[in-house]
C-alpha cells in the first residue's frame, strides 16, 4: 500500500528529477500525485516475478 505523500517528499522527489518547483506548485499537484501512486501500487498485485519487462519493445 502506498503511504500519503507529504510536501517534503514531493519537493525532494522533484529535485532528484531535476525540477525546482515551488511549494505552491507541488501542493497543487499533491492530490494527483497521490492518486497516481495509488494506481501504480496496483501493479504489485500482478504476477510479475518471472515476467521479463518489455524494455526491448520491438515486435519483429
Amino acid at each position: 500500500m502506498s503511504q500519503p505523500i507529504d510536501l517534503d517528499t514531493l519537493r525532494r522527489s522533484a529535485r532528484l528529477a531535476g525540477f525546482d518547483w515551488s511549494d505552491a506548485d507541488l501542493e497543487a499537484i499533491r492530490p494527483m500525485v497521490a492518486a497516481s501512486l495509488r494506481l501504480l501500487a496496483g501493479l504489485e498485485s500482478l504476477p510479475l516475478t518471472d515476467v521479463e519487462p518489455a524494455t526491448q519493445y520491438r515486435m519483429l
Binding site: I5, A17, M59
Partner: protein, 471 residues
Amino acid sequence: MTDLTFASVSDLVRMIKTKEVSPVEVVRAHLERITALDGSLKTFITLTEDAALAAAREAEAAVAAGRPLGALHGVPLGLKDLYDTAGVRTTGGSKILAERVPSVDATVVRRLREAGMIVLGKLNMVEFAYGPEGLNAHYGHARNPWDARVHRMTGGSSSGSGASVAAGLVPVALGSDTGGSIRIPCSLCGLAGIKPTYGRVSRAGVLPLSWSMDHVGPMTRSVADSALVLGAMAGYDAADPTSSVLPVPDYLAALTGDVRGLRVGLLRSFFLESAAPEVRAAVEAAARTLEKAGAVVDEVALPSIRQVAAGALAVVATEALTYHATWLRTRRADYDPEVSTRLMLGAFVTGVHYVRGQQARALIRQEVDHALARHDVLLAPATPIPAPGVDERQTTLGDGPSDVRSALIRLTRPFNFSGHPACSVPCGFTAGGLPIGMQFVGRPFDEATVLCAGDAYQRTTDWHTRRPVLA
C-alpha cells in the same frame, strides 16, 4: 454530380484517373468547404491553400499528359499538426513550437505525397497529443460536427483530424494514437480509423508523446478508404528504429466482404460492462450482425486488464516527461496548465514503477496474444460513451462514475500498451444523434484481417454513410 467533399477515396481516385473530375476541382471543393465551415469547427491550425492548389494543378497536368499516376493521385489530405512538413510549421498544437518549421517531411507524409496525395493543411490537436478530450487552449477547441446545438468534444488527441473528415473538409486525415488518439475521435465523430501494429508504420518525423506507445495511422469515413491509405503509408523505414521489416500485404485485396467462419472474441468484462447502455446495445447488435454474416462470436476476457491504466501511466508519464523535461524547466508557463500538470506527474514515477509497467506490458501482451490464439479478431466498444460536452468532466459508466478523460481512454489504451492493431468502426447512433464506435483488434501485423472484418461489417450497415447536418 457526385458531392466531391463526401466522395470516397476510391471514387475520387477513379474519377480523377478517368478525367471525370480534375484534382483542381477536388481540391477547390474541399477548400471552399473549409472556408465555409472551419471558422466554427476549428479543425485547421495552418491551411496551405496556395501550395495545395499548386500541387493540384501539377496533378492535373500529370493526368492530362498521361503520365503514370500514384495510387492516391489528386486526393486531398489533412495532417495532424505533429507530422513534420517541409517548409510548413509543425506546432504540435503548442505555443512552444508555434514557429517551428521543419526542413523535411515525415516519412509517411513523403510516402503519401509520392502516392499523389495533396496536403491541404495541418490539423488541430491536443497540445503535444497529451489528452483524449480533443481540447486545445492555444488554437481553440475543435467542434464535433454531429451536434450543431451543443459544443461537444471531438475526442482526441487527433481532434482536428476527426472533425475535419466527419465534416467533409478532407476525405483523409492522419492521426496518431498513444492511448487511443485515432480511435477515440473516430468513435466520437463517426469515422473509421486504424492504429496499426507497433512497427508497421514509420513514426520518423512525427513529434513523440511516448516513443514506445505512439502509433500513426489514417482516419477516413470508411474502412476501405483506411485500407487504401494504410497501404501507401506502411512498410520498413530505416529512419524509425522500431520499424518492422515485414512486407506489407495488399490491404484492399484482403477486403473480401466474407467473414464466414471468422472467430470473433467479444470483450465483455471491463469493455462492454463499462459501456453506457446505448453503446453496449450497439456493439452487441454489431456482434449479431457479424454472426448473421457467418462469423462465430463468443466471449473472451483479458484477466489483467484492470492494471493497464497503471502500467500505461508508468510508461507514458516517464517517456513524456523525458521528452519535455527541458521545456518544462524553461517554458512551463507556455503549456496549457492541464498538460503541464500531466507532464509534472512523471517526475514522481520511479524507475521501479517504469520497469513494473514494462513487465505488466509483457503480461498484457501475452494475454491478448492468448485471446487471439483462439480468435481471429477481438471486438469491443472503442469508447464507452458518446461525445461529451466540452465542459463535462464527470460521467457514469456501466461500472460506476468516472472522470471523462479516464473514460474516453479506457478501452483503447490496452492495445497501445500491447501493440496490437486495432480499427475503429462506426456501429450506431444514440437517440440524440451522436455516433457510437466499436473496435476490432487483431494479431500483430494482421491488419488485413482487422480491416476485412470492419469492411465486411460496413458492407451490411449504413452508419458510415450518414452525414452531420452543418450550416
